[in-house]
């Protein structure tokens, strides 16, 4: 504490008279001791489980051998990254991840807005609330439950959707293992689980639309559709753009649980994404260093995407070009 006091005093000697400042620091520590005490468990938590693993990620540049420990395992530089980028897995994972993200952006995202707009046009409040209550429910179910429901609905020779879709197409497809059906099923699960819940943010934006604009439009003789097109949609556009940009920042974050639960030996080729690949390589096969390198690559690109997206979102929000 004395050392700390001296250095603080030394650096700020020009601004604050040293004696006064030193007394101030000491008073601080006694004055805030209970608050610091309350902080201790939280600081330990962040040190161990948030910053600890960030330090542990150093094994991406080493050949981690468990019995040697992190510190004594030999350095290998960027070898694991080079291996990963040179392997055929890299383009495959990137494509799988980006295609899923794109499908979600093109299908699930607009659908959420459409449902919010339709809900907003419901006149009966009680009906609106009932529909909301029902479509929010799937959001709270675990991915395990969603995957279980999917396995029952598409079960080979038994599931209702197995019969319905195969009957419709005149085929005999096992949807759960057919690589061509992996992405449609993932998107379907996504829509079922999250569309309803996703409407909340747009409904909030819709509720804040200035009602006087509608009155003015009515006087001008605008019909329902014209009002939605010329007033409602432009009013929620800033929210739409911000949500879109923020979602683009999450492009690499295909949920681990959802993908893992739907992955099997027959659809691995299209199912593998960064998160599940890290699990299979790291936990299942024990290639700790290699899988950490893959995870670190994803995390770094993720940070760049998030900051880029936030910067974009702020620009759109402030200038309000729409």
């Amino acid at each position: 504490m004395v050392v700390l006091d001296r250095s603080v005093a030394a650096t700020e000697a020009l601004v604050v008279p040293p004696r006064k400042r030193r007394a101030g620091v000491r008073v601080h520590f006694t004055q805030f001791k209970w608050l610091y005490l309350l902080l201790v468990p939280g600081i330990i938590y962040f040190a161990l489980f948030r910053y600890g693993p960030m330090g542990g990620a150093i094994i991406a540049f080493k050949d981690y051998v468990p019995f040697l420990g992190i510190a004594d395992s030999p350095w290998v530089g960027f070898a694991h990254f080079e291996d990963f980028f040179a392997s055929p897995d890299f383009p495959r994972l990137l494509a799988n991840t980006l295609i899923l993200a794109l499908l979600s952006l093109v299908i699930a995202f607009p659908l959420t807005i459409v449902v919010a707009l339709l809900l907003n046009e419901l006149r009966l409040n009680i009906l609106k609330r009932s529909v909301q209550t029902l479509i929010y429910i799937p959001h709270f179910l675990s991915w395990t439950v969603v995957a279980s429901l999917t396995y029952l609905l598409f079960a080979l020779d038994a599931g209702p959707l197995f019969h319905a879709i195969n009957g419709l197409l005149g085929t005999d497809i096992n949807f759960l293992t057919d690589p061509a059906w992996f992405r449609p099923i993932i998107v379907l699960q996504d829509i079922w689980k999250n569309t309803g819940w996703g409407t909340i943010i747009f409904l909030a934006a819709l509720a804040s639309v200035d009602q006087e604009q509608y009155e003015a439009a009515i006087i001008d003789g605008a019909g329902r559709f014209q009002r939605v097109w010329h007033i409602t949609l432009p009013s929620i556009m800033p929210t739409v753009v911000v949500m879109l940009v923020l979602q683009m920042g999450q492009v690499l974050n295909t949920g681990f649980e959802q993908i893992y639960l739907m992955t099997n030996s027959l659809n691995r080729q299209v199912a593998d994404v960064f998160d599940t690949y890290v699990y299979f390589m790291g936990i299942t096969q024990g290639s700790y260093s290699y899988s950490t390198a893959v995870g670190l690559f994803k995390a770094v690109v993720g940070v760049i995407l998030i900051f880029g997206a936030n910067w974009l979102a702020r620009r759109f929000n402030q200038t309000g070009i729409f």
């Binding site: 600890g52 046009e121 429910i137």
Partner: protein
Amino acid sequence: MAREKYRFNTPAGRVFDVFNVALLVALGLLAMLPFIYVTAGSFATESELATRSFFLWPETFSLRAYESILTSPAFLRAMITTIAVTAVGTVVQLLLTASMAYPLSKGNLPGRRLMLSLIVFTMVFSGGMIPTFLMVKDLGLLNTYWALILPAAINPFSLIIIKNFFQQLPAELEESAKIDGANELQTLWSVILPLSKPVLATFALFYAVGIWNDFMSPLLYLNDNSMWTLQMFLRQVTVATDLSIIEADPSQLPPAQGVKFAVIVVATLPILLFYPFLQKHFAKGMLIGSVKG
């Protein structure tokens, strides 16, 4: 009053209204349909499940599926484990979050700004799955239930919202406690926390749902299947179709199909029972987050 946008409806607008109501009601039912099907299936006999591909009401009621899972020691163990881990975990996580949020809500605390930026940074960057796994392993938490609670103990997002809530509480309350001779620890416990009950309830639900639904942590950290939680058990039965996990009495084999349906229903039931609270609190939480986050 705020109904202006509906006035001056054209005939086309009226047709749209009818269509819209029908569509949204259908959407609402569609959201529930898989669950109704599974509930109906859980009460059906094996032969009905084998012959009818889709129904919302069983022809003959059977409780066999529920009998076999509710008499399965493995299932009951998973159920009790999950309830206990969720209960203890929620309390631990909420206490850790609230006790860290309180000092951070004090504008004059030295080092506060630095700590907040370090916390926010963890929202966008993490060491990843494997280094976290190795940390849990090195701490000796592998194959303990603490591994399901501690690594996610403080959600930075929840922490910041709770901190913001503490910040806007009137300062006079704390000052009067201080005059009565209470230190910050006592003030937090007897003045701040009781005032924050609604907010704490919201985040208790956040944490509880998170632990109950968690599949990744038990997958990563629990190797011993006698320790498995409900979500792991559920996956083993439905996705991996491994009925041996039920450890049924060999003389009375469980109904293979019905059991899958029943396990899903039982795993979902607690969420549905709490749903009215969840809907109310989560919607609010999500909007707070979107405004302030």
